[in-house]
Amino acid sequence: MTYFKYVALAYAVFFVVLAWDFIVPRLQIRQQLREARARLTRASRGSAAAVDEELSR
């Protein structure tokens, strides 16, 4: 193949950028879901503590 290194470099750029485009939204979704789960855990801990206080009175 003539100009092999140019062709290889161009296709490498194409795949690297598309790989970035594939990975980034997945990481963002994972982060948002993790944050939502953490909120849920905090909220359930908070409500459990409130119930404990009420019972001790």
Partner: protein, 250 residues
């Protein structure tokens, strides 16, 4: 039929419904894109004969041209969604418009880099301040401007409106990029591939190009839905539907 479509669009505007829809269809679009990429690249790199003047360097065309078309198409779509979002205040359209920006920027970056790599052996230079190259570079800056503006304002809705306005104004660049090779003397070659009418490229070289064009379209829809889903989740992080969904999945 039309009533059903409008009903479905209203349903799609509901964040929980959109989350489920985007999660499912994003995956299917990526799954559709991958074999198309595989077949298109195999045709482009192994089946199609080398060009009689440019040798094998012309094979860069199969990633350069679909990416260049996508860079223009995505900007147009982003402006379209932004206009709908500004006129009718539809939140989903704001989300979709802003999700277009990084994908469009990625395709513009691919266009510029692969064009530069192709230019070195053919023109003897990596870069030239040629009208087509310069206007495409301005397009990349406009995408970055939209992304930067959206990220700079805390209120998501106000940010989307401001960035959307920039996208709408930026549409003026699209015909300039498209006709830059006609209006000015350009190092970049003129139009060789026509959707309507005869292309000046040999018919044996055309098929992989259309396959790659289709593959990039599927990829774009997959990526658009995934990015829009991420933004939708970010806006909805404390809402009851998401809590219920997480509780059910736990």
């Amino acid at each position: 039929m039309f009533k059903g479509l409008v009903g479905w669009f209203h349903k799609l505007g509901s964040p929980p419904y959109f989350d489920t829809f985007a999660a499912r269809w994003s995956t299917w679009c990526y799954i559709a894109a991958l074999p198309l990429f595989g077949f298109g690249l195999w045709q482009a790199l192994a089946v199609v004969p080398a060009d009689y003047q440019q040798g094998d360097s012309f094979r860069i065309l199969y990633i350069h041209v679909p990416s260049a078309w996508m860079s223009l198409f995505v900007f147009g779509l982003m402006a379209f969604y932004s206009a709908i979002a500004l006129i009718w205040r539809i939140k989903l359209c704001e989300i979709l418009a802003m999700a277009c920006a990084p994908i469009g920027a990625a395709f513009t970056l691919i266009t510029l880099l692969t064009g530069s790599i192709w230019g070195k052996p053919m023109w003897g230079t990596w870069w030239d301040w040629d009208p087509r190259l310069t206007t495409e570079l301005i397009l990349l800056f406009m995408y970055l401007g939209v992304m930067g503006l959206y990220g700079a304002i805390d209120d998501r809705r106000a940010a989307a409106r401001a960035a959307g306005l920039l996208a709408i104004v930026g549409v003026v660049m699209l015909p300039i990029i498209r006709y830059s090779v006609v209006w000015w003397n350009s190092l970049h070659q003129g139009q060789t591939i026509r959707v309507f009418g005869e292309s000046s490229m040999d018919s044996s070289m055309i098929l992989p190009l259309w396959i790659m064009v289709l593959a990039t379209k599927f990829w774009f829809v997959g990526s658009l839905l995934a990015r829009a889903r991420a933004d939708n989740l970010r806006r909805e992080v404390g809402k009851a539907w998401l809590r219920e969904k997480l509780e059910k999945s736990a």
